[in-house]
Amino acid sequence: MPVFWLVIVVLALAAVGYILGRSRALNSAGGDIRRLHSLPSYYGWNAALKVIIPALLLLVVWLLAQPFYVNSVVSKMIPQAEISEGSSRGLVMAEVRRTANGLDSIAAAGLIDDDATRNLRVDTTDVTKLLKDAGQVVTSGITQPVLAAAQHYRIMKASGDLIMSIAVVAFALAGLLWGVRESHFDFRARNVVEQVVKALLIAAASIAVLTTVGIVFSLIFNTWEFFRLYPAADFYTLFEWAPSFSGRGGASSLGILPLLWGTFYISLVALIVAVPVGLFAAIYLSEYASPTVRGFAKPMLELLAGIPTIVYGLFALLTVGPMLLTVFGDDGLGWMQGGRAVMTAGITMGIMLIPFVSSLSDDIINSVPQSMRDGSYGLGATKSETIKQVVLPAALPGIIGAVLLAASRAIGETMIVVLGAGAAARLSLNPFEAMTTVTAKIVSQLTGDSDFASPEALVAFALGMNLFILTLALNVLALYIVRKYREQYE
């Protein structure tokens, strides 16, 4: 683990910098702490930060950039003839990387020494067999250009690693020198250190933005790839979802509409369960319940929110499904064929959303000013009339916001639908039939062994893109409504 040791070396140099910087500043003040501009430890931290930050920054950038550079150089070495029909330069490069790793393990296993691996030739040695002996999985017979590319790849990687180590240590040493030389009693160490720390704080806060950028780019980039292989018009208008795993491209029909229908249908059922129960529970808890009842029932309901979704998924698959099947199945009303259905997933998801709806609505109902209630009571209204005609209309925008947030949760929910809703994409009105959703298909297209270059796998990114946009729009709308509503009464 050279990177690990490199980090250790940098940290050790930083510790040296701390001690040297601190003692040099104290010496320059003749040991009198009152003559220093800052506390002694700030001089130490100044030197330490100057060692750590540039060196580690360089390390990270180098680690990210080196593979790209090496890949681009080595992939130019592969002659066009080497790329067979139906293959691509990327696949051959993957083979080159595997071969290079294999050569590493050959040398590590001591089958032949390191110099010999550099001079291996396909026509004199059975390299493929040698690689397999070393435990490396390679797909086909290794050809001479691939082997040569792999050998070059190894050499470049080794020399790159060496240069990186030297450069990082040099940066660290330079930082050490810089930080220690600055340590003088009138140097404003505290200001410098605090500026650096503040920059680090800003960097930490910016990770949220970076995450969003990462999400958006990984979605856009792969969706773009997908639309190059598969027409976007078909994706948005076909009423059929039938991915084929044998053929590539045209053989599959990948229409998002049945998936969207399943998603909306299941979310609708979930909201029909969750909204009345959650809303009435919130009304009762905030308007009627005594403190003891509230103190017991509210945490109990919120327990439902703390249960992981995999538990709900299993509950749908093994409890709700069979339960519904005994009533609506062939032995009962005969509407239901199997345990997995829109109702199964919808009801379970509704249970999951009850606490979500109730605690959001509870907050909103509580923030309706008491004076409005008092006015209503003063006119002779009963409690329920006050709630129905004063409190709820006043809270309505906020409650709509809460329902929209719940809907966005329902649309993005994965585990319940993966386990409870079934796998067949269907456009049907019968809620007792199995349907599938966008999230369930993202999971099924991206797990398994399909390679990431086929439209059948890339379609998951396009689905994810639509899911992201849909939930984002719902969230933004809901937050906007809730904020508007809050402003009204604050």
């Binding site: 505290r190 605090e194 704080l201 930490a204 806060a205 990770i207 949220a208 933005v209 995450t211 969003t212 990462g214 999400i215 990984s218 979605l219 980039f221 129960v277 959650g278 809303l279 009435f280 009762y284 808890l285 308007e287 009627y288 029932a297 309901l301 439902l304 249960i307 992981p308 979704t309 995999i310 538990v311 299993l314 509950f315 698959l317 093994l318 409890t319 009850i354 109730s358 329920s384 009339e385 005609q389 649309i411 993005g412 994965t414 585990m415 993966v418 386990l419 999230t439 993202i442 999971v443 991206l446 797990t447 398994g448 990431f452 994810g464 899911l467 992201f468 939930t471 984002l472 969230n475």
Partner: protein, 453 residues
């Protein structure tokens, strides 16, 4: 509201002889409506609580069986003629005997138990005892023999796993009707099981290996355990804790204490509140595209899982940390600034320690959330992998393929054998116990250290 008091002109309202003592029809109606409305509320809360009870009952009643397992205690004669043909007790020779060599010894041992006790059964051959034992039993005996080669030739008592069908029969999962079409076991075996239970040869015991053991192949449900995936979750949580706590606290300090109102700050705030509501599966897509496709980090590794969950938990931690920083009264900051501390010193020396209990509570709750998350782990490949090997070291714990608790539960729920459903419920009990204790710690921390100003 208004139409009740509004009387159209030209119509004389009927005289109302209302009394304060007798309720008129309209008041009765209004009171009934009041009562009804109240009942709706009670019914809603009752529905919620009933759902909770049903859920918990389903989990406990289905899952408690996983903590018990059926074992067969039997005296196995370790036949030297079979296990050590050369008779020189050479360990390499002993290792050459595969599990197939041990299977007949076990079957003979159990058959001997049957005949010695005079149990009548139509099963007349030792090889018909195969349906009673787990496929892993031979490997278990083999491991013991290789550890202690001196045992060969002795008769040693072993406690071996019964097959999952026998286990299911004792737990009520397998019945005489359901075995008719079952190829691996017959009704005669069940009769024999009953007799052996009476004789004390077959018994149910507490199953520690469910908590500590590794996952097993599809056909050996009786052997599968959560241990390896618990370790996977543990390594993932370490990554999440080490990354999300410092980054989350740093981000909150900046936003709460230093940030000026400008575009960049606004952008960060909007991003954090939106990320908190992005579906978890989208984070899985991010992890797949950035960490695995782009950065070539190893697939299925707890390190990658931890990174993805870190990004997911950060908004939660930032939101709760900001709330606890906000709760520290400004007078503390003013006092620190007044005696000459810099802004940074006032935050680090005074505000942060006072907010620490709240930050810790928020972090534990965020970690608990991350621990139960499954969907992103499916995409980075922590499913479909049989978590059968314990990591052999810290580095291997972070980098080698592993599963996580919720992913392991999902994996079991997908398998065809109903014996695995029991395991999945049992896994949920373990997961919920861990989550509950994390939340309890958070509540206790809050109670003990929370300060109100």
């Amino acid at each position: 509201m208004t139409d009740a008091s509004f009387t159209p002109p030209g119509r004389v309202p009927p005289p109302r002889h209302g009394s304060l003592i007798t309720l008129d029809a309209r008041t009765k109606k209004r009171n009934a409506a009041e009562k009804r409305f109240r009942m709706y509320g009670i019914a809603a809360i009752a529905t919620g609580l009933i759902f909770l009870m049903v859920l918990l009952t389903a989990i406990i009643s289905n899952g408690k069986g996983a903590f018990q397992q059926t074992f067969i205690t039997t005296q196995v004669f370790l036949d030297p003629a079979k296990l050590d043909k050369n008779g020189n007790r050479d360990i390499d020779d002993i290792k050459k005997v595969s599990t197939f060599g041990y299977t007949p010894l076990l079957q003979n041992a159990i058959f001997a138990e049957v005949t010695d006790r005079g149990i009548e059964t139509p099963l007349s051959k030792a090889s018909e005892m195969k349906a009673l034992t787990s496929a892993s039993a031979a490997a278990q005996v083999r491991d013991v023999v290789i550890e202690n080669p001196d045992m060969i030739g002795d008769t040693v008592e072993f406690r071996i796993l019964a097959s999952s069908r026998v286990d299911g029969y004792l737990k009520g999962r397998v019945s005489r009707e359901s075995v008719i079409r079952d190829k691996s076991i017959d009704a005669e075996h069940l009769d024999l099981t009953d007799a052996l239970v009476d004789a004390g040869v077959i018994e149910k015991r507490f199953n520690l290996s469910f908590i500590t053991g590794a996952d097993a192949s599809e056909s050996r449900a009786e052997q599968a355990g959560m241990g390896v995936s618990i370790l996977g979750s543990l390594f993932m949580m370490m990554v999440v804790l080490v990354l999300s706590l410092p980054i989350g606290v740093a981000a909150s300090i900046y936003l709460e204490e230093f940030a000026k109102q400008n575009r960049w700050t606004d952008l960060i705030e909007v991003n954090i509140s939106n990320l908190a509501a992005v579906p978890s599966i989208v984070f899985g897509i991010l992890g797949l595209a950035v960490f695995i496709q782009f950065a070539h980090l190893p697939q299925s590794a707890p390190l990658v899982g931890g990174l993805v969950l870190t990004l997911m938990t950060l908004p939660t931690i930032i939101i709760s940390t900001r709330a606890s920083l906000k709760a520290v009264p400004p007078s503390i900051r003013d006092a620190a600034l007044g005696i000459g501390a810099s802004k940074m010193q006032s935050v680090v020396h005074h505000v942060l320690p006072l907010a620490a209990p709240g930050i810790l509570t928020g972090t534990i709750i965020g970690l608990a959330q991350a621990l139960g998350e499954t969907a992103p782990l499916l995409l980075i490949g922590m499913v479909g992998y049989i978590a059968s090997n314990y990591p052999d070291g810290i580095a291997s714990g972070f980098l080698d393929p592993n599963s996580a608790m919720p992913a392991q539960i999902y994996e079991w729920a997908k398998r065809a054998d109903p014996a695995y459903y029991e395991r999945a419920w049992g896994g949920i009990i373990i997961l919920l116990v861990v989550l509950l204790s994390m939340n309890l710690i958070a509540i206790i921390l809050r109670r003990r250290f929370e300060r109100r100003w």
